[in-house]
């Protein structure tokens, strides 16, 4: 039976997913062993039940991220923080340094101060999710089984970790395979 794999994209640049695609021909081997049940690269709208492994890219930045992350935790056996934004909150969390009210400040700068046309804050209940007061790494919200650092993690590092998991051994990255940045 195939491993039910999901990948999700929260507050990040998609670079980790690009790096995943950079696995090249290993993706063909992978396709024989896993079923990709949810991902930005497949057209599934609702996160399914009984997922074996989920690779989580990105920091937790808004209400939607938070809600989906809790759902993912409930429906998934093994979570992997995939890349620096998930592991450390990284660049998305730089706004945290502005203290309380940081979300309002960054929106003000991006959508009002620097707007050349039609300055207004994006606001549409139920469509545009409100930003959290503080951007968080994934493991500060839910329990995470494994960490795959890197900005982005190079393909060989992803292959190492995913390979270990598929082989049924406890994944363990060492030395420079754990390099941030």
């Amino acid at each position: 039976m195939k491993v039910r794999l999901a990948t999700v994209w929260f507050g990040g640049c998609a670079g980790c997913h690009m790096s995943f695609l950079d696995l090249d021909e290993f993706l063909i081997d992978l396709a024989e062993k896993v079923e990709l049940v949810y991902s930005p690269v497949v057209d599934v709208k609702e996160y399914p039940e009984d997922v074996d492994v989920c690779l989580i890219e990105g920091a937790i930045c808004n209400e939607d991220n938070l809600e989906l992350l809790h759902k993912i935790r409930q429906r998934t056996k093994v979570l992997v923080s995939f890349g620096d934004c998930a592991v450390t909150a990284n660049v998305p969390a730089i706004r945290n340094q502005l203290g309380l009210g940081n979300a309002e400040s960054v929106l003000q700068v991006a959508y009002i101060d620097n707007a050349q046309h039609n300055p207004c804050l994006p606001k549409e209940d139920g469509i545009v999710p409100p930003l959290l007061k503080k951007v968080l790494p994934v493991h500060e919200v839910v329990n995470v089984e494994h960490f795959l650092p890197g900005c982005p993690p190079p393909a060989d590092r992803i292959k190492a970790l995913v390979g270990q998991m598929l082989a049924g051994v406890e994944p363990k990255l060492e030395g420079a395979q754990l390099k941030f940045g």
Binding site: T88, N96, Q97, V144, K179, F180, G181
Partner: protein, 241 residues
Amino acid sequence: MAAKTLTIDGKQISAEEGATVLQAADEAGVKIPTLCHLDGVYDVGACRLCLVEIAGVPKLLPACTTQVAEGMVIHTDSERLRKYRRMTLELLFAERNHVCAVCVANGHCELQSLAYNQGMDHVRYEYNFPKWSVDNTHRLFGMDHNRCILCTRCVRVCWHIEGAGTKNVAGRGGKAHIISDLNMSWGQSYSCTECGKCVQACPTGALFHKGSTAAEMERDRTRLEFLVTAREKKQWITGEE
């Protein structure tokens, strides 16, 4: 000078009286992780990465500031030490804003390489996200307090090697930070000779050459080695040896 015999990780060695445990270990080929230590500059035991276990002493002691003694039995690598080293590194990362991906020192950073060599795959402490500034007032160099770990290498090379005394530490605890002269902007400092030793000494991306962008800040420690060797051994390193 009298020699002391001691044991490091089960290895019988001898070291000169007055040598530090770090020096003795180094000579015996035992590698102890360090961060605030810099060859040629006096040690202060600031970072606690080089903590070792010494039989009969309940506390962990920094190898860089502890002198060898006759019959000492030292362990440099145990479950307990690995636990504390990883904890220390995680606290350093959580304390200020270390964003490796956009740091000038990415790939050339001692904090970064120590973290992965000690197996740090994530930080278990809540990040502080403090607000610190960047001093870009100097003509040649910049100081980003977000990336400073207060190892004081810059202070020590500035006072001890250059003799200028520009760099100092101000404040206490979480508010401690590196200043220039009497807490003025670096560009206004009267005492700075623009020698750049502090920039070469910095283990992270806190001190950098202006104009370097992410991952470009490589250090050249041979300049410090050149000066220290000249001073201590009266020898000039020619680079062709």
